[in-house]
Amino acid sequence: MLEFFQIIGFTAALLFVILVPYLFTKRFFLTLHTIRATYSVVFFYLLSMLLVNMAIILRTLGHLRAYELSESLSIIVFLIGTALFLKNTTSEAILNAELERERDLAKALMDRIGLAIFVTDRYGKVSAINRKACTLFSIEAEEVLGRSEEDLKRRIDQVFEVDGDLFKGRKGDLYLRCRKGELCTKKGEFLGSISIFEDVTESIKKEERLRDLNKRLSALLDVSRRIVSLIDLEEIFEAVCRSAVERLGAKMAWIGTLEEGSFEIRPRASFGTDSGYVKAIRVTWDDSELGMGPGGMSIKGRGPAIEEDVSNSETFKPWRKEAMKRGYKCVGGFPLMFKGEIFGTLLVYSDKEGFFTKEIKETFSALASYTAIAIKNASLLMDLAGAKEEWETIFDSISDLVCIHDDSHRIIRANRPLKEKLGLPFSQIVGRDCSLVEGIFYKEGEGCPHDKVVEAGLPVSEEIKREDEVYYVTSYPYRIDEKRSFTIHVARDVSPYRRLALAEEEKKRLEEVNRFKTHFVSLVSHELRTPLTSLIGFTELLLEKDLEKEKERKYIAIIHNEAKRLGALVSDILDLSRIEAGKLEIRKRPFSIRSAISRITDLYSPRSEKHSILVEVEEGLPPAFGDIEKVEQILGNLVDNAIKYSPDGGKIWIFARRNGRMIEVEVKDEGIGIPAEHIRTIFEPFGRVDTSTVRTTRGTGLGLTISKRIVELHGGEMWVESEPGRGSSFFFTLPIHETRKGD
């Protein structure tokens, strides 16, 4: 017995010596922390064995007292250990029961919590899993409890797609977010870990919707930004269809526009998996079968029209075959409508059922609206561009010179003809001060009429001569408000009209000359015949008849007179024709009109006893400027006429006076005067007043005509005033010889 104890005792002692330091190392101690009580029992038992061994050794050595003492001690220690053991076992049972209750409570809590939870122990084995987790992961708790976490994860993987901490259900829309935590004691002892799964489906979906909305909005924004900048309609349609497919998830989209005077919806562009669909179908918006589809209905209903199930819709029948061939499941028609005006429809096809959610419909409706705006924009832009171009073309094709400047006289517009006139590029005209166009639109040195016309609110016109051109310029005021006003200058080159008018005048003059010539020839022929009649007649009489001496002499005298008259007539005709041909030479020199008059009076006074010639010349009359011989011819002619047409004699006055810048000469008689009806023709060739009383002393009938022409060649005028029975006054004017100061 003792030997047995001895062996036990040694073994225990050995174990004790080896184990105690080990047991007391921190780590082990920590792991055993919870069952320290058990340990103390073992300690006491081991201590009691040690004492027994000591007692055996002491007995062998003969120390009986010591042996007894240690034996008693070992019994006491053993008893203490037993007592401790007993005590421990009792409290551990109680503890275990408590623990059990708490575990149940935890389990119940775990099951009742809406979260899915599983717990693994420190060895990574699943120690707990709640009901929710079992349901979500489609497993039974028994299948995984006590198994490794990896096993559980594999099971979960079958029903959930794991993306980091997000678990996405492989069937249906379910999203779980997983949070994993370590379980430790207060002192930091690791007990295991817990995984909590929260159902985040709603928030994820919301997020997704938001993301989707964002995507669609940005797509819409992109499209709208693009299409409103386009002018070409086909480009717009193309871009819209493309983005419906590429950015907004449609399978195919096409745009059809309304045609004036027809219910046809004409396809303009398409994009997506079409391969001839748009070509194969016909869509209208009338009340026929072809007008009942989403296209026609969207226009008639002025809003989105959705065909949810292509394969099963009565109204989609006409297009079903073609649509199904291409896998289209649903179709939406969205009117291209802006401010109530419908331009066409956007048709969107999808191969997904239920594609047209509220948001999608809104998106495509918006896209369709943008398209309508873009159409409107494009047409406005085109109108505007067209109008601008048209305006500029008109502006430039006005052959008049046009210049517009503002109230600071800065040129803001010039048309092409003005540019060409100035020989400057537009860049050097626009922006310049309007003095650039001085001399064209307003006379040099007179200043721009802007203020004048704007204030008056009325245009002003004037003729401006520039070199050999004549411009008719009108300056129009254009007033926007109190502060802003413009002047529009328009200059018309009227030189061609002038030239034309001159040519017309010249033509008329030539015709006049021609008519005059014809008339003149007949007049001349008549006038020549009269003296010729005398010449031929009397010479024949002289030749044929035996006449008395006296008669013979008389006839010869007549012949002589008539021959002279004929000579004078021929000479006058030559003079006149020279004048008419512009070949009469006028040698202008300054001369004294007084001396010219006195030479004439000297010449004519002796010719008639019945007449007296009186001269009155204004004092200080400046010299005349002209051909003195011609002027004397005129004076002689007038005095001669005065004598001739005052057959009863009388006074003849010659006045010379100043009349403005001219010298006026008047020859006045007290003769028979000129009847009113003859005044008009008095200066015409042979327009003399025939009276039998003066016939015998008749002249050539060209004197006055020639005189008037000569006066006109001097730049003067000739006219007559007369009162039948009381006399006539013939006037003519001659230029004064202008002398410069100091001459």
Binding site: L541, E562, T691, R695
Partner: protein, 120 residues
Amino acid sequence: MKKILIVDDEEYIRELVAATLSGSPYELLMAKDGEEALEIARKERPDLILLDIEMPKKDGYEVCRALKGDPETSDITIIILTAHAQKEDIRKGYKAGADEYFIKPFSPTALLRKVEEALG
């Protein structure tokens, strides 16, 4: 003795015509304008008038028309004697009722023959 009225505003022409006819047995009357011509014609009832066209007061056409339009004087033979030699003038003369149209300048012999012819 047959009466011949010579109407012309030109003194020389009257003298020439008178001289031309002076050797023949005609009574010669003279007028120097249209009005005088009418007056004398109505009063003296000449057998023949040698009528100038271009005259003061009334021209030859008017005188011719007046005399030919009046039954009292319409049988007077009128020979227009004028320097108006254009076709237009001649037609106008005949239209006015003249029996003959004689153009100045003329040969006195030819005129005498014409007058004799006219008076038969």
